[in-house]
């Protein structure tokens, strides 16, 4: 039996805060477990408010932050046991990130094609200029762009949607099995957002790439996800099949979350549906006083 693509078991991450005298620990992620199977690619969505630990979890899966307790295995390899450069490179080929703000992800003084070429050289191990350019062009074609369009361009010459496509193309160069996308559409304009979301769906359906999609937008999560977990304060409060969970949430927090989503169908209601949030604000006041 092949090992699962990704196995996250009872992962905990605690950060120490404060000075020497008033030290306390914040548990950003507390006992999260899930498994992604290797046989069938899927889009696995992590939903949560800011401070719920979803980005910390993503960083642990990318192996840039190591968990305080628990294990993460990628294709059976424990991430904390990766020491050698060769193993690390193999891991990075298999798991690639996409970040939230494409304008921050790229150096404004660097031509955008350099990122693709460097990735092709380092991750895919290509040597000749022609091979590298062909690979970059292939990856760009998959996201609806081509090398001719972006050669020699700087980030400020491209729109947010194009940059995010290039970020995805860059991630695809090493033919990864898993892409970790941390809020990939929250900085993208409304008219371009759906094309990026559709692109993620195509990656799953046509290229067999599994995606961990991190977001706080329930509507796009419903649109593309297969499975979903809802996180709050580092814990998973509810999880399962995406449609089932979002159609009929059980946990009080999930219900509140779904109620707070503003529906475009309420046009002209004059704010009748705005109210659910005040419950939360009262709780917040309690913490300050």
């Amino acid at each position: 039996m092949t090992p699962p693509l990704l196995e996250v078991r009872e992962v905990v991450k605690a950060y120490s805060m404060g000075s020497v005298l008033s030290r306390h620990r914040i548990r950003a992620v507390e006992g999260v477990s899930f498994t992604m199977k290797a046989e069938r690619p899927e889009i696995f969505t992590i939903i949560g408010e800011s401070g719920s630990g979803k980005t910390t979890l993503a960083r642990m899966i990318l192996n840039t932050v190591s968990p305080t307790a628990g294990t993460i295995r990628f294709r059976g390899t424990d991430l904390s046991k990766i020491w050698r450069g060769r193993d690390r490179l193999a891991f990075m080929r298999g798991v690639q990130p996409i970040f939230q703000n494409p304008f921050d992800a790229f150096n404004p003084l660097k031509q955008i094609d350099r990122y693709l070429f460097t990735t092709a050289r380092r991750m895919a191990g290509l040597r000749t200029v022609k091979e590298i350019e062909d690979r970059a062009d292939q990856a760009l074609k998959k996201v609806g762009l081509s090398l001719v369009e972006i050669r020699g361009r700087f980030p400020h010459e491209l729109s947010g949607g194009q940059l995010q496509r290039i970020a995805i193309a860059r991630a695809l160069i090493s033919t990864p099995a898993l892409i970790v996308a941390d809020e990939p559409v929250s900085m993208i304009d409304a008219s371009l957002r759906m094309s990026i979301v559709n692109l993620l769906r195509n990656l799953r359906d046509e290229m067999g790439v599994s995606i961990i999609y991190i977001t706080h937008d329930l509507a796009t999560a419903y649109y593309i996800s297969d499975r979903i977990i809802i996180m709050r304060k580092g814990r998973v409060v509810e999880g399962g099949d995406a449609r089932a969970v979002l159609d009929n949430p059980q946990h009080p927090y999930s219900i509140q979350l779904k109620q707070a989503v503003l529906s475009p169908d309420a046009a002209g209601s004059g704010g009748a549906l705005l109210s659910a949030g005040l419950v939360e604000s009262q709780a917040e006041l309690g913490e300050l006083t």
């Binding site: 729109s159 094309s195 649109y223 449609r243 159609d247 529906s263 002209g268 705005l274 939360e280 009262q282």
Partner: protein
Amino acid sequence: MAPATAAPRAPAKENGKAEATIEPVLVVSGLRAYFQTSSFGVEREVRAVDDISFHVGANEIYGLAGESSSGKTTLIKTVAGAIRPPLRVLSGSVVFDFRGRRVSVYDSDPQVMDEIRWKHLSYIMQGSMNVLNPVRRVRHSFVDFAFRHIGRKMPEFMDIVRTHLQRLHLTPAVLDAYPHQLSGGMRQRVTIALATVCRPEFIIADEPTTALDVIVQNGVLAMLRDVQREIRSSIIFVTHDMAVHANLCDRLGIMYAGRLVEEGRTADVFKAPKHPYTAHLIASLPRIGYVAARKGLEGTPPNLADPPSGCRFHPRCPLAADICRRQAPPMTWSSPGHRVACFAAATGSAQ
């Protein structure tokens, strides 16, 4: 600059029946504001606001939608009179009517504008972290922003601030906190409190909830709506999130590449969008419970330094005809209270 004598009339008075009763608080007519730079003899002109006319009625929330670089922030900065070179106003006028007191932003003395700001016209900014001084307590920000405009003695002023904070479901303890001690939602509520403490007639809100989570966003919007109802002010609310517009705004204006392309009552715009861009924006919104494939819009937003000829939307428009490439469509009334700038919409085929 338009002569001050040419008092602009509200377009609604000529056309709509329903809005004829509403006195406009703000009338913007023919406003053009360009970024003009010249370095080493190279002249560049970015037409961020190009011939925009609209009005906002009393006690009304007017939504402005559009993607980034569509000029919506430039428009509201120009409306607020908060512009600096290289941004220049080339023509048009912005006239406020603060309960009988008429102020034309670009024909008034700076002293008049200083007096108006915050007392009658306030501004909720996007990044709450950048508005509040990170090294001073929140109390200091209130004194800084509002003390002079309220014109009371200090203890009395602090009482007013405390009651106002309680009205916004904030404990007066926030006054002694530093901004970093507050959560994002609380900070945003503090900036809303700052903008409303003088009970202004007009509030300009620039993406006040963009960085917030759904639950917090919902609460902040509900609060803004309650405050608006209580002090009966008008709001221009800018965001690119159509779902927020649907739930909050009375009327909605859609901007594309520096121009207003459609305007109407929110329910009308969502039910029967006339401009192909609006129609696309609304059709592409994902909804919980629907999984049918939704298309993104092809192409990229235009570069405002070199905008396309004719209608600026034509390179991405599925209905583009020959005339769209040559001529910019004028804003025309399609039904009472609903106007659109599109040749195709005039024949009723935009949907």
